[in-house]
Amino acid sequence: MTQRERRELIERIIDLCESVRSRGLDPFDVQVRELLDRLRELFPELKRLEDLYLDLRAVSGLADVVVHQSEWLKHRSSILYLDPLLVMLKMQVMEPAELADVFVRCWRPVVEMESITPSAIRMGLDYWTELPPLSERGLEIGVAETRTGRISEEELREMGIVSEEEFSRLMEEEWKRMLREVGREGISYWKWVCAKTFEETVRRSWILSFLISYGYVDVEVKPLEEEIVIRPREKPVQPGETRSLVIPVTYEEWRRHAGKGRGG
């Protein structure tokens, strides 16, 4: 066996031990005794310091696997042990509502309340006292500062603008409608989002942004034609290398495109 082959073998043993620790691989899948025998055979041939260090890591990794085997045995001998495969198969055939019912039967939620404290009220009052009036904060000349920001689905839910149920429904409806009306040929971004009112246009562009982010819709930017084309996918794909695309949906932009959109 060449030096390179020896090194590769030791590195494979280290990787295997690492998989038990980090990826939850069954520790009994590792043939500890056999691998230790292989390391013992290789040991006299290891001369370089780096090779000895790798050998040390491999032995330490195998010791770690033995610790995991011990924990595994303790778990299997406990009352909680049930064959994971059996549990998985059972869950596979259950409907979401059945699973939810099972969960509720073994669930005793924590009771928690929120309340403002006297010290928080005091802090609020102090802040109010020290806060200069708007007129002293440079806003009296009619200059309004507008900052762009991101708002998450969760924040919108918390603000009561959209419920999760509603959001899921909106996304699915919009995706299916796009598949039905547009197909794989695609459509101009503005043609798709532009509606009779500005509010509806913003709403459509907001839903579309999530469809794009989650891989339900593909986007192609055509710089020469100054056009953005969107195409629904039959199945959502996991985005590989992600990139950001900013499309401002302003009132002026909507006015410019109004009448060219799909309406509705």
């Binding site: 980090s22 549990v87 869950m91 019912d101 073994c106 009771v111 309340m113 996304m171 989650y214």
Partner: protein, 181 residues
């Protein structure tokens, strides 16, 4: 007179214990063992026991969740019995989310306490869209049902240990037969 003072002191401590366990401090509910000892004195366990007896009348109980060393044990108030599925919907839970949580927790428990996050995601994506799965797992981590290490391995979080009867979960799952028709 002295007896009257003692009763008043116990009542005061009982009220303090209820506030500590029921109201959120920072982001999480409940109180640590050392916090209770500091606020209620050496006989804090007696006070907590008395509070538990009071809470029983309301269908609630005090539960202790182990957090490594005993001084960090978390005391929380939970339901004494499980709620009904109908009640849970009024708590703001969706059936889909509960089923995803049940699936995730059962997978972790059945596999000895930990499972790769990607593996859980793959299983959940068999029944739910990817974006729902990702958002649900993130939310379960934020709520304390799951804990994730730097390698993306998922464990039971403090809230799952406080709220979910792991043994009952697995027994119920295995005791349940698929309904015909």
């Amino acid at each position: 007179m002295q007896e009257k003072d003692e009763v008043a002191e116990v009542r005061q401590k009982l009220a303090k214990a209820a506030q500590m366990l029921l109201f959120k401090h920072h982001r999480e509910p409940g109180a640590r063992r050392w916090e209770l000892r500091r606020a209620l004195g050496r006989n804090y366990e007696e006070i907590v026991k008395a509070l538990d007896a009071e809470l029983e009348k309301l269908g609630l109980t005090v539960k202790v969740v182990g957090e490594g060393d005993s001084e960090s044990d978390r005391f929380v108030v939970t339901f004494r019995e499980h709620p009904s599925l109908g009640d849970v919907r009024t708590f703001g839970w969706r059936i889909d989310d509960m089923s995803m949580l049940a699936m995730t927790l059962a997978t972790i428990v059945a596999r000895g306490g930990k499972v790769a996050g990607k593996e859980v995601q793959r299983i959940l994506e068999e029944k739910f869209p990817k974006w729902r799965v990702e958002s649900a797992i993130d939310r379960f981590i934020r709520m304390g049902y799951l804990q994730e290490d730097e390698k993306g391995v998922l464990y039971l979080g403090w809230r799952a240990r406080a709220e979910v009867d792991e043994k009952a979960l697995l027994s119920l799952l295995l005791g349940r037969e698929k309904k015909e028709g």
